[in-house]
Amino acid sequence: MLRNALLVALREVRRNLLRSFLTILGIVIGVWAVITMVTLGRGATRAVSAQIATLGSNLLLMRPGQRFGPGSANAPNFKLADAAAIRDQIGGLSAVAPAANRVVTAVYAARNWSTVVTGTSNAYFDATGWNLVRGRRFAEGELRAGKAVCIIGETVRSKLFGSESPVGSRIRLKQFSCTVIGLLRAKGQGAMGMDQDDVVVMPLRAVQRRLTGSVDVNTLFVSVGARADIDRVKQQIAALMRTRRHIADKEEDDFRILDTRQIAETMTSTIRIMTLLLGAVAAVSLLVGGIGIMNIMLVSVTERTREIGIRLAVGALGREVLLQFVIEAVVLSALGGAIGIVLATLGSIALASAMHVPYVFDARICALAFFFAAGIGVIFGYFPARRAARLDPIEALRHE
């Protein structure tokens, strides 16, 4: 009986290509949407975590102002002496680097490229885990004198130098020129278009004198030693800074200390919300796809009530006709689901590489989307067919 129904069902699938195609299409779209959205969300989360890991897990980032970004304008910047005070008075630190930065257009030969110039000390490389592939770090004399030398990131190198070797060449930043003395090892692109290699590092004094025109620093990088307690260190630094910045007991901090773990948590939770949102959008498209499948199934069973009547009249049992319809629905749904999974996988891989996030295969989402879409196909193939298969043949034949 099963084999028989299978043969009849397959013949009907072939015979009604348009109807079959539409059913499959509905399922494909639903499955595709859910899998792609969720996969990309997962990939973005992973990319952010990986990127944060490249910063090192024991890095503190200090910024003036309570919020990261524009709000910090009201609060006074840090002084160079703040960095020295932290280094001298807090125990358990492995590096403290003050930094000031500015967006500048760098020019070499006929090429130019807008990038961020960070003025800092050699401690910066230790704190943020940068290594050099070529050249050297700053010499003591260069730092002290604020000489126009720089170490560039991989992106800046490729934009300005192409295939040329950069070390020893001079690039122009704003109105002064600057000798390239080193090249940073690439950290790779981060999520959301953040390119970590798009940097130029110079001695702090050179940036202060030639670009920002002040002796302030706007960021302090503090690397905490492996055995120290980060939370305790944070408290100590905060207390020290409050006295140095003359903050009264009742007032809030006018600076902020972030540790990389905290940043990671904030970013992953943001991305988790985004993934949920995308998932909700995807679920809606799955639902719409499901309604499409439902519609096609209902219409086709109504259309086919006469067919059911004919089959019953020549001696088919109600359950044989029903089995045929269920097999048709299962075959179409499974086919649609499989195509959806394949397309979603290919699409996710392509989109993931375009968005610079890793592709993360998730079997559970595939299974969920597949069974949801297929389930709708089967259920809405089954119930109307069952109603028709219970009619007297003559009633089914009269059906309009």
Binding site: N4, V8, R11, R15, N16, R306, E307, G309, I310, R311, L312, A313, V314, G315, A316, L317, G318, R319, E320, R390, D392, P393, I394, E395, L397
Partner: protein
């Protein structure tokens, strides 16, 4: 059976059929008694709307009477389950619909094969039998055509081929020559009469044409949902085989 008369193959006892309810109710059959013996060839005649098709549908186990008894080989069909009635249709009955009722988008050959699929015949045997039935109605060359590509008369002949392909015990044909020209009609009647004579197929046929009714051994006339005339009654059952 205690009676002297042979058991009828199929019998209707006081069968009524009412469509609809209340004021709009319509009595298509108002108490039909009909005994058909094995091997008979019965022609049912009567004006349009007299209930011929309704009675045929009940005889073909496609519809259930509102009241009365329907016996097939002594079995009360009206008491059988849906599945049992389907099995009766599958193994004993062949039906030619007034409106053909072929599967659309399906070739003539596959339409004729359909009853054999449900009889679980193997493919090659099925194919051979279907071709033979198509040959009998003169449509072998049209086997690959779909109903929409066939004339009304050709569709009717495909429907006949589908009904005879199983070699049924009882063949019910509702105006099988309604759409055929006179020559074709005679050919089809010769075919049906041959099945009745040579293979002992019991035949009940609705027709409007007296000329076609002459092929039958007995004629029954319907009027207003009742049997107005039955050869078997007036001739003292001489037709019983």
């Amino acid at each position: 059976m205690s009676s002297d008369a042979p058991q009828p193959l199929v019998a209707l006892r006081g069968v009524t059929k009412t469509y609809g309810e209340g004021a709009s109710a319509l009595s298509a059959l108002r108490g039909i008694d009909l005994d058909i013996a094995p091997g008979e060839f019965v022609a049912i005649m009567g004006p349009s709307g007299s209930g011929k098709s309704t009675a045929m549908n009940i005889l073909g186990c496609l519809d259930t009477p509102t009241s009365g008894e329907h016996l097939f080989q002594g079995v009360h069909v009206e008491r059988l389950s849906r599945t049992q009635r389907a099995l009766l249709r599958r193994h004993y009955l062949g039906f030619v619909f007034q409106g053909y009722n072929l599967l659309a988008r399906t070739s003539a050959l596959e339409n004729v094969e359909l009853p054999l699929i449900y009889r679980r015949w193997p493919r090659t045997r099925r194919r051979a039998a279907a071709l033979e039935a198509l040959a009998a109605v003169g449509l072998v060359d049209w086997r690959a055509h779909r109903p929409s590509e066939l004339s009304g008369g050709q569709q009717q002949r495909v429907a006949i081929a589908r009904a005879i392909v199983t070699d049924p015990e009882l063949l019910l044909a509702d105006e099988p020559t309604g759409n055929l020209d006179s020559q074709r009609s005679h050919e089809i009647m010769a075919l049906l009469a041959g099945l009745n004579r040579e293979r002992g197929v019991t035949l009940v046929m609705v027709t409007h044409e007296a000329e076609m009714a002459r092929y039958a051994s007995r004629s029954v006339r319907f009027r207003d949902g009742l049997v107005e005339h039955d050869d078997a009654a007036s001739h003292g059952g001489e037709q019983a085989a």
